[in-house]
Amino acid sequence: MPDFRLSPEHEDLRKTVEAFAHDVVAPVIGDFYEREEFPYDIVRQMGDMGLFGLPFPEEYGGMGGDYFALCLAIEELARVDSSVAITLEAGVSLGAMPIYRFGTEEQKQRWLPELTSGRMLGAFGLTESSSGSDAGDIATTAVRDGDEWVVNGAKVFITNSGTDITGLVTVTARTGTDEAGRPEISAILVPSGTPGFTVAPKYSKVGWNASDTHELFFDDVRVPAENLVGERGRGYAQFLRILDEGRIAIAALAVGLSQGCVDESVAYANSRQAFGKPIGRNQAMSFKIADMEARTHVGRLAYYEAGARLLAGEPFKHQAAIAKLVATEDAVTNAREATQIFGGYGFMNEYPVARFWRDSKVLEVGEGTSEVQRMLIARELGVG
């Protein structure tokens, strides 16, 4: 029989992050969000707890845990706030993971101890203004000149790319053309502050307002030849692998948001009075919450199973795509229902459910849109 109960260590981690999110994040995050400010002190404490090192071995400053442990931490954070959850998700899964999986020993020694401790954040720049879902169709180039790569181009919507503690961004760039005339894509590590690398002012976003997102420009940016991450020409395949596991983490984030909607709604439905009784006594309200709970539970099972396959070294792409699709679309639904339960207060930014509603939308877009997930699932089924 499959067993979806957590091991005692995973459960202890989950509880620890739950307490942290409740005690440290919840009381202050609304203010950061309102001011659109990055919560450095919270991120520092997440680093001190080892969250940024969860899936990495101790020799690189990691916690010796696994990717599933990371997902549990992301879920518990997102239950309270998505900005800090995506900061962790992107920092680990997009910032540090490419270096850990594909980098040279020197690159790992140089960057991972800082990244896994949370003292430094890394970013991953894939998306461009005219290429998102079709991420192979990029215009950014990297040309080899002697011992250096010269990078030119621009990236959009890059998470964690412009904080005071951002140390690097790994970008995908064209490094040539293969025999068949297709672009050859490679990944190049660009340290923050390299001349010619500029970070645009932060976006005005609908949600994730305490998370850091920027457009990046590369103007004759020169980095040493050894900043190539992984093999030349393997950049596309590498980021597909990174995105595959990232989907499990985004599903976990979505489940956290869905659970947060349930937590808030139960409390509110039991206390808010209308027509002389708590609104939760109306079946129209209690059934909404029952449905929200059911969606959350199913999303959690979906990401647990994809995560279990990943840990077991089995194929997990298909399950990860399903988990991401179901959990994120359900998160949008839960956020819509939760704000409905809150009535007018649900439209006021000071209520967490309003934040959840604003934060939920992007889940259907980032790290592969819902349509892209459906394309992947349908392709595996041999349709079309």
């Binding site: 260590e9 202890d12 981690l13 707890m49 080892g50 090192g53 010796g64 845990g65 442990a69």
Partner: protein, 259 residues
């Protein structure tokens, strides 16, 4: 430096606390158990002291089977080993009995410091540290918001209502800490994994050299005879401001003995 930290398992701070109907002691089943919050500060202080100048931290808890979780939590934070005092006869023990058992277990083990929280969140007597110090015949350096050890000299800042006193003693000593002293760490995953391999010694009342008749509900100096639910929150008082609002609020507050 060898440090013992006394940690108590209490019902989750957010949970509603209940007494059992059977013997009017705390219903420990109805709420999740957590480490008493101030005891997290005590563990943190012990870890900071040993991280700075070397040594060993032993977490000690007296409580039912479940209290092992609280010892384990201290180990996850970084303590080296644990002692769990568990015995059916301890059920219903008062502060006097608790301090007796703790002091018997702590005596003659070569601890330089024994660190406590200054108060539990359930019974809130704030007396156990002083009682243990008295029983062991060592200085009681209570309500510390700062602790410094140099050789065999211990200096603390004792928090008072108006500021703090500087107090100095020799070691060994008992210290109790207040919340201002530090920011307790959350266990890391590495700490959680490492704690699985750390030893927890289980000690009974007999092992501690205490007679079972001296502990438990029957031996408690006071017993709860009766209790009733806290009355529901009364409606607030509304004061219309007709120009004398300030005075009326002040009168109300003084009536209620707030000012």
């Amino acid at each position: 430096m060898k440090i013992a930290v006394c940690v108590k398992q209490v019902p989750d701070t957010w949970a509603e606390k209940k007494l059992t109907d059977a013997d009017r002691t705390l219903d420990r089943e109805s709420a999740d158990g957590v480490m008493n919050e101030l005891d997290e500060y005590a563990v943190e202080e012990a870890l900071l002291l040993t991280e700075a100048s070397g040594g060993e931290v032993v977490a000690v808890s007296m409580g039912p089977d479940k209290a092992e979780e609280t010892v384990r939590k201290a180990l996850q934070m970084g303590a080296d080993s644990g002692i769990h005092i568990v015995d059916d006869s301890l059920h219903g023990s008062d502060a006097i009995a608790t301090s007796l058992v703790l002091s018997k277990v702590l005596a003659d083990k070569g601890f330089d410091l024994i660190i406590f929280g200054s108060e539990s969140t359930d019974a809130r007597m704030s007396v156990v540290p002083a009682m243990v110090a008295e029983r062991l015949g060592v200085p009681q350096m209570t309500f510390a918001n700062k602790v410094e050890v140099a050789g065999e000299t211990l200096k603390i800042q004792r928090q008072t209502e108006y500021g703090y006193d500087e107090v100095e003693s020799s070691t060994p000593a008992v210290v109790s800490v207040v919340e201002k002293i530090n920011e307790p760490r959350y266990p890391s995953f590495k700490g959680i994994m490492a704690a699985k391999k750390k030893p927890i010694e289980t000690v009974t009342v007999a092992d501690a050299g205490v007679d079972a008749g001296q502990v438990g509900l029957a031996a408690a100096w006071s017993q709860v005879d009766q209790f009733s639910e806290r009355p529901p929150k009364a409606a607030g008082v509304k004061i219309e401001d007709d120009g004398s609002g300030g005075v009326k609020i002040a009168e109300y507050l003084s009536e209620q003995k707030f000012i």
